[in-house]
Protein backbone atom coordinates (compact mmCIF):
# COMPACT_ATOMS: atom_id res chain seq x y z
CA UNK A 1 0.00 0.00 0.00
CA UNK A 2 2.87 2.37 0.64
CA UNK A 3 4.05 2.53 -2.98
CA UNK A 4 0.66 3.51 -4.37
CA UNK A 5 0.21 6.19 -1.76
CA UNK A 6 3.60 7.61 -2.67
CA UNK A 7 2.66 7.81 -6.29
CA UNK A 8 -0.56 9.59 -5.53
CA UNK A 9 1.18 12.11 -3.27
CA UNK A 10 3.76 12.88 -5.95
CA UNK A 11 1.03 13.42 -8.46
CA UNK A 12 -0.84 15.85 -6.31
CA UNK A 13 2.27 17.75 -5.34
CA UNK A 14 3.49 18.24 -8.87
CA UNK A 15 0.35 18.35 -10.95
CA UNK A 16 -2.07 21.21 -11.60
CA UNK A 17 -5.77 20.71 -12.02
CA UNK A 18 -5.51 20.50 -15.79
CA UNK A 19 -2.85 17.86 -15.88
CA UNK A 20 -3.99 14.28 -16.03
CA UNK A 21 -3.69 12.50 -12.70
CA UNK A 22 -1.30 9.63 -12.30
CA UNK A 23 -2.72 6.30 -13.07
CA UNK A 24 -2.82 3.46 -10.64
CA UNK A 25 -2.60 0.23 -12.61
CA UNK A 26 -5.53 -2.08 -12.39
CA UNK A 27 -3.52 -4.89 -10.96
CA UNK A 28 -2.84 -2.71 -7.94
CA UNK A 29 -6.52 -1.87 -7.54
CA UNK A 30 -7.54 -5.48 -7.39
CA UNK A 31 -5.54 -6.05 -4.23
CA UNK A 32 -7.28 -3.29 -2.32
CA UNK A 33 -10.35 -3.87 -0.24
CA UNK A 34 -11.57 -0.29 -0.31
CA UNK A 35 -9.62 2.03 -2.61
CA UNK A 36 -11.75 5.10 -1.91
CA UNK A 37 -10.78 5.12 1.73
CA UNK A 38 -7.10 5.00 0.79
CA UNK A 39 -7.45 8.04 -1.45
CA UNK A 40 -9.31 9.95 1.21
CA UNK A 41 -6.71 9.00 3.74
CA UNK A 42 -4.01 10.60 1.60
CA UNK A 43 -5.72 13.93 0.92
CA UNK A 44 -8.46 14.93 3.28
CA UNK A 45 -8.44 18.57 2.20
CA UNK A 46 -10.08 18.38 -1.23
CA UNK A 47 -12.41 15.46 -1.63
CA UNK A 48 -13.74 16.70 -4.97
CA UNK A 49 -10.46 16.25 -6.77
CA UNK A 50 -10.10 12.85 -5.21
CA UNK A 51 -13.42 11.79 -6.66
CA UNK A 52 -12.40 13.12 -10.06
CA UNK A 53 -9.14 11.31 -9.79
CA UNK A 54 -10.79 8.03 -8.98
CA UNK A 55 -13.25 8.54 -11.81
CA UNK A 56 -10.46 9.22 -14.28
CA UNK A 57 -8.22 6.41 -13.17
CA UNK A 58 -10.93 3.96 -14.02
CA UNK A 59 -11.14 5.35 -17.55
CA UNK A 60 -7.45 5.74 -18.29
CA UNK A 61 -5.94 2.39 -18.91
CA UNK A 62 -3.76 2.88 -21.97
CA UNK A 63 -1.63 5.97 -21.87
CA UNK A 64 -0.72 7.68 -18.65
CA UNK A 65 0.94 4.83 -16.85
CA UNK A 66 4.07 5.21 -18.97
CA UNK A 67 4.93 8.75 -17.86
CA UNK A 68 5.43 9.15 -14.15
CA UNK A 69 5.65 12.96 -14.11
CA UNK A 70 2.75 14.61 -15.90
CA UNK A 71 3.67 18.10 -14.72
CA UNK A 72 6.87 18.28 -16.74
CA UNK A 73 5.19 17.14 -19.95
CA UNK A 74 1.77 18.69 -20.20
CA UNK A 75 0.56 16.76 -23.24
CA UNK A 76 1.82 13.36 -24.15
CA UNK A 77 2.76 12.32 -27.63
CA UNK A 78 0.83 9.55 -29.30
CA UNK A 79 2.48 6.14 -29.29
CA UNK A 80 4.44 5.49 -32.48
CA UNK A 81 3.61 8.86 -34.04
CA UNK A 82 7.22 9.54 -34.96
CA UNK A 83 7.67 5.97 -36.13
CA UNK A 84 4.66 6.25 -38.45
CA UNK A 85 5.94 9.47 -40.00
CA UNK A 86 9.46 8.14 -40.42
CA UNK A 87 8.35 4.85 -41.92
CA UNK A 88 5.94 6.57 -44.27
CA UNK A 89 8.68 8.80 -45.64
CA UNK A 90 11.23 6.00 -45.73
CA UNK A 91 8.89 3.94 -47.90
CA UNK A 92 9.41 6.20 -50.89
CA UNK A 93 13.07 6.83 -50.12
CA UNK A 94 13.88 3.12 -50.00
CA UNK A 95 11.94 2.73 -53.23
CA UNK A 96 14.35 5.13 -54.82
CA UNK A 97 17.49 3.57 -53.44
CA UNK A 98 17.08 -0.20 -53.51
CA UNK A 99 14.21 -1.05 -55.77
CA UNK A 100 10.54 -1.64 -54.99
CA UNK A 101 11.14 -4.37 -52.40
CA UNK A 102 11.44 -2.68 -49.01
CA UNK A 103 9.22 0.28 -49.67
CA UNK A 104 5.84 -1.51 -49.63
CA UNK A 105 6.87 -3.45 -46.52
CA UNK A 106 7.73 -0.28 -44.63
CA UNK A 107 4.52 1.35 -45.81
CA UNK A 108 2.46 -1.60 -44.63
CA UNK A 109 4.13 -1.49 -41.21
CA UNK A 110 3.37 2.22 -40.98
CA UNK A 111 -0.26 1.69 -41.97
CA UNK A 112 -0.59 -1.11 -39.44
CA UNK A 113 0.54 1.18 -36.64
CA UNK A 114 -1.98 3.90 -37.51
CA UNK A 115 -5.24 2.46 -36.02
CA UNK A 116 -3.76 1.94 -32.54
CA UNK A 117 -2.59 5.54 -32.41
CA UNK A 118 -5.93 6.84 -33.66
CA UNK A 119 -7.82 4.75 -31.13
CA UNK A 120 -5.65 6.03 -28.31
CA UNK A 121 -6.31 9.60 -29.46
CA UNK A 122 -10.05 9.05 -29.76
CA UNK A 123 -10.41 7.60 -26.29
CA UNK A 124 -8.93 10.61 -24.53
CA UNK A 125 -8.06 13.45 -26.91
CA UNK A 126 -7.27 15.89 -24.09
CA UNK A 127 -4.26 13.92 -23.03
CA UNK A 128 -2.33 13.93 -26.29
CA UNK A 129 -0.77 16.76 -28.24
CA UNK A 130 -2.51 17.80 -31.45
CA UNK A 131 0.76 18.03 -33.36
CA UNK A 132 1.32 14.37 -32.65
CA UNK A 133 -1.98 13.57 -34.37
CA UNK A 134 -0.78 15.67 -37.30
CA UNK A 135 2.31 13.52 -37.48
CA UNK A 136 0.15 10.42 -37.63
CA UNK A 137 -1.99 11.82 -40.44
CA UNK A 138 1.02 12.95 -42.46
CA UNK A 139 2.64 9.56 -42.01
CA UNK A 140 -0.54 7.85 -43.12
CA UNK A 141 -0.75 9.90 -46.31
CA UNK A 142 2.93 9.32 -47.08
CA UNK A 143 2.56 5.61 -46.46
CA UNK A 144 -0.47 5.35 -48.74
CA UNK A 145 1.35 7.13 -51.57
CA UNK A 146 4.48 5.06 -51.04
CA UNK A 147 2.49 1.85 -50.94
CA UNK A 148 0.62 2.64 -54.15
CA UNK A 149 3.71 3.62 -56.12
CA UNK A 150 5.85 0.81 -54.73
CA UNK A 151 3.10 -1.76 -55.19
CA UNK A 152 2.65 -0.74 -58.82
CA UNK A 153 6.35 -1.14 -59.47
CA UNK A 154 6.44 -4.45 -57.64
CA UNK A 155 3.56 -5.74 -59.77
CA UNK A 156 5.43 -4.71 -62.91
CA UNK A 157 8.54 -6.45 -61.61
CA UNK A 158 6.69 -9.69 -60.77
CA UNK A 159 4.84 -9.80 -64.09
CA UNK A 160 8.06 -9.25 -65.93
CA UNK A 161 9.83 -11.93 -63.92
CA UNK A 162 7.07 -14.50 -64.52
CA UNK A 163 6.68 -13.88 -68.22
CA UNK A 164 10.45 -13.92 -68.53
CA UNK A 165 10.82 -11.20 -71.08
CA UNK A 166 14.42 -10.30 -71.50
CA UNK A 167 13.93 -6.61 -71.73
CA UNK A 168 10.86 -4.76 -70.77
CA UNK A 169 8.05 -3.95 -73.15
CA UNK A 170 8.44 -0.34 -72.18
CA UNK A 171 11.88 -0.20 -73.75
CA UNK A 172 10.27 -0.70 -77.14
CA UNK A 173 8.00 2.27 -76.76
CA UNK A 174 10.34 4.61 -78.55
CA UNK A 175 10.63 2.39 -81.61
CA UNK A 176 6.87 1.96 -81.75
CA UNK A 177 6.51 5.71 -81.44
CA UNK A 178 8.94 6.26 -84.28
CA UNK A 179 7.13 3.76 -86.48
CA UNK A 180 3.81 5.47 -85.84
CA UNK A 181 5.42 8.84 -86.45
CA UNK A 182 6.94 7.72 -89.74
CA UNK A 183 3.68 6.16 -90.83
CA UNK A 184 1.96 9.50 -90.61
CA UNK A 185 4.24 10.92 -93.36
CA UNK A 186 4.44 14.21 -91.62
Amino acid sequence: MTTENDNIEKGFESGNENTPPPVVPESANTGMNSPVEDFSAVTDNNPDTVNQATAKTQNQTIGGATKSSPAKQMLMRLPNAKAILTLGILSIVSLSCCGPFFGPILAIIALALVPAAKRAYRENPDMYAGSSMGNVNAGRICAIIGLSVGGLLLIIFIINMITGNDGMQFSNVEEMYEEIWNATDY
Binding site: C98, S131, A138, V149, G167
Partner: protein, 99 residues
Protein backbone atom coordinates in the same frame (compact mmCIF):
# COMPACT_ATOMS: atom_id res chain seq x y z
CA UNK B 1 38.15 6.87 -51.93
CA UNK B 2 35.81 8.28 -54.54
CA UNK B 3 37.39 6.18 -57.24
CA UNK B 4 36.93 3.09 -55.11
CA UNK B 5 33.26 4.00 -54.63
CA UNK B 6 32.89 4.67 -58.32
CA UNK B 7 34.08 1.21 -59.21
CA UNK B 8 32.15 -0.66 -56.51
CA UNK B 9 28.54 0.36 -56.99
CA UNK B 10 25.80 -2.04 -55.94
CA UNK B 11 24.00 -3.54 -58.96
CA UNK B 12 20.25 -3.18 -59.24
CA UNK B 13 18.13 -6.36 -59.16
CA UNK B 14 15.26 -4.63 -60.93
CA UNK B 15 17.52 -3.77 -63.81
CA UNK B 16 18.96 -7.29 -63.88
CA UNK B 17 15.50 -8.80 -64.30
CA UNK B 18 13.61 -6.31 -66.39
CA UNK B 19 16.49 -4.82 -68.32
CA UNK B 20 15.46 -1.25 -67.76
CA UNK B 21 16.24 1.27 -65.08
CA UNK B 22 14.29 1.19 -61.85
CA UNK B 23 13.13 4.50 -60.32
CA UNK B 24 16.22 4.56 -58.14
CA UNK B 25 18.85 3.79 -60.72
CA UNK B 26 21.41 6.53 -60.92
CA UNK B 27 21.23 7.45 -57.28
CA UNK B 28 24.58 5.96 -56.32
CA UNK B 29 26.32 7.62 -59.25
CA UNK B 30 24.57 10.80 -58.22
CA UNK B 31 25.77 10.48 -54.62
CA UNK B 32 29.34 9.90 -55.78
CA UNK B 33 29.20 12.96 -58.03
CA UNK B 34 27.72 15.00 -55.21
CA UNK B 35 30.53 13.94 -52.89
CA UNK B 36 32.92 14.94 -55.61
CA UNK B 37 31.31 18.35 -55.82
CA UNK B 38 29.75 18.16 -59.27
CA UNK B 39 26.23 19.38 -58.62
CA UNK B 40 25.18 19.57 -62.25
CA UNK B 41 26.42 16.06 -63.00
CA UNK B 42 24.65 14.85 -59.86
CA UNK B 43 21.41 16.45 -61.05
CA UNK B 44 21.90 14.89 -64.43
CA UNK B 45 22.21 11.41 -62.97
CA UNK B 46 19.40 11.69 -60.44
CA UNK B 47 17.41 14.91 -60.12
CA UNK B 48 15.53 13.87 -56.99
CA UNK B 49 18.59 13.43 -54.78
CA UNK B 50 18.83 16.96 -53.44
CA UNK B 51 15.09 17.20 -52.62
CA UNK B 52 15.34 13.84 -50.88
CA UNK B 53 18.21 15.08 -48.72
CA UNK B 54 16.21 18.21 -47.96
CA UNK B 55 13.22 16.04 -47.02
CA UNK B 56 15.36 14.02 -44.62
CA UNK B 57 16.85 17.08 -42.97
CA UNK B 58 13.42 18.62 -42.48
CA UNK B 59 12.11 15.32 -41.12
CA UNK B 60 14.87 15.06 -38.51
CA UNK B 61 14.45 18.67 -37.42
CA UNK B 62 10.67 18.32 -37.31
CA UNK B 63 10.88 15.22 -35.13
CA UNK B 64 13.27 17.03 -32.81
CA UNK B 65 11.63 20.44 -32.59
CA UNK B 66 7.99 20.01 -33.70
CA UNK B 67 7.53 22.91 -36.12
CA UNK B 68 4.10 24.44 -36.39
CA UNK B 69 3.60 23.79 -40.10
CA UNK B 70 6.10 20.95 -40.22
CA UNK B 71 3.68 18.26 -41.28
CA UNK B 72 2.27 20.41 -44.08
CA UNK B 73 5.77 21.15 -45.39
CA UNK B 74 6.66 17.48 -45.16
CA UNK B 75 3.54 16.40 -47.03
CA UNK B 76 4.07 18.91 -49.85
CA UNK B 77 7.75 18.02 -50.15
CA UNK B 78 6.92 14.32 -50.11
CA UNK B 79 4.40 14.64 -52.94
CA UNK B 80 6.90 16.77 -54.87
CA UNK B 81 9.54 14.10 -54.41
CA UNK B 82 7.22 11.32 -55.48
CA UNK B 83 6.25 13.23 -58.57
CA UNK B 84 9.86 13.96 -59.42
CA UNK B 85 10.90 10.32 -59.02
CA UNK B 86 7.96 9.07 -61.10
CA UNK B 87 8.57 11.67 -63.81
CA UNK B 88 12.23 10.78 -63.92
CA UNK B 89 11.37 7.09 -64.15
CA UNK B 90 8.92 7.56 -67.01
CA UNK B 91 11.26 9.84 -68.90
CA UNK B 92 14.10 7.36 -68.50
CA UNK B 93 11.86 4.60 -69.86
CA UNK B 94 11.12 6.73 -72.89
CA UNK B 95 14.81 7.53 -73.32
CA UNK B 96 14.27 11.21 -72.98
CA UNK B 97 17.26 12.84 -71.29
CA UNK B 98 16.36 16.02 -69.60
CA UNK B 99 18.76 17.97 -67.41
Amino acid sequence: MLEMLRHNLIPCPFKAVTGCDCPGCGMQRSIVELLDGNFLQSLHYYPALLPLILLFVILVFHLRFQFRYGTLILKILFIFNTGLISLNFILKLLNIHWL
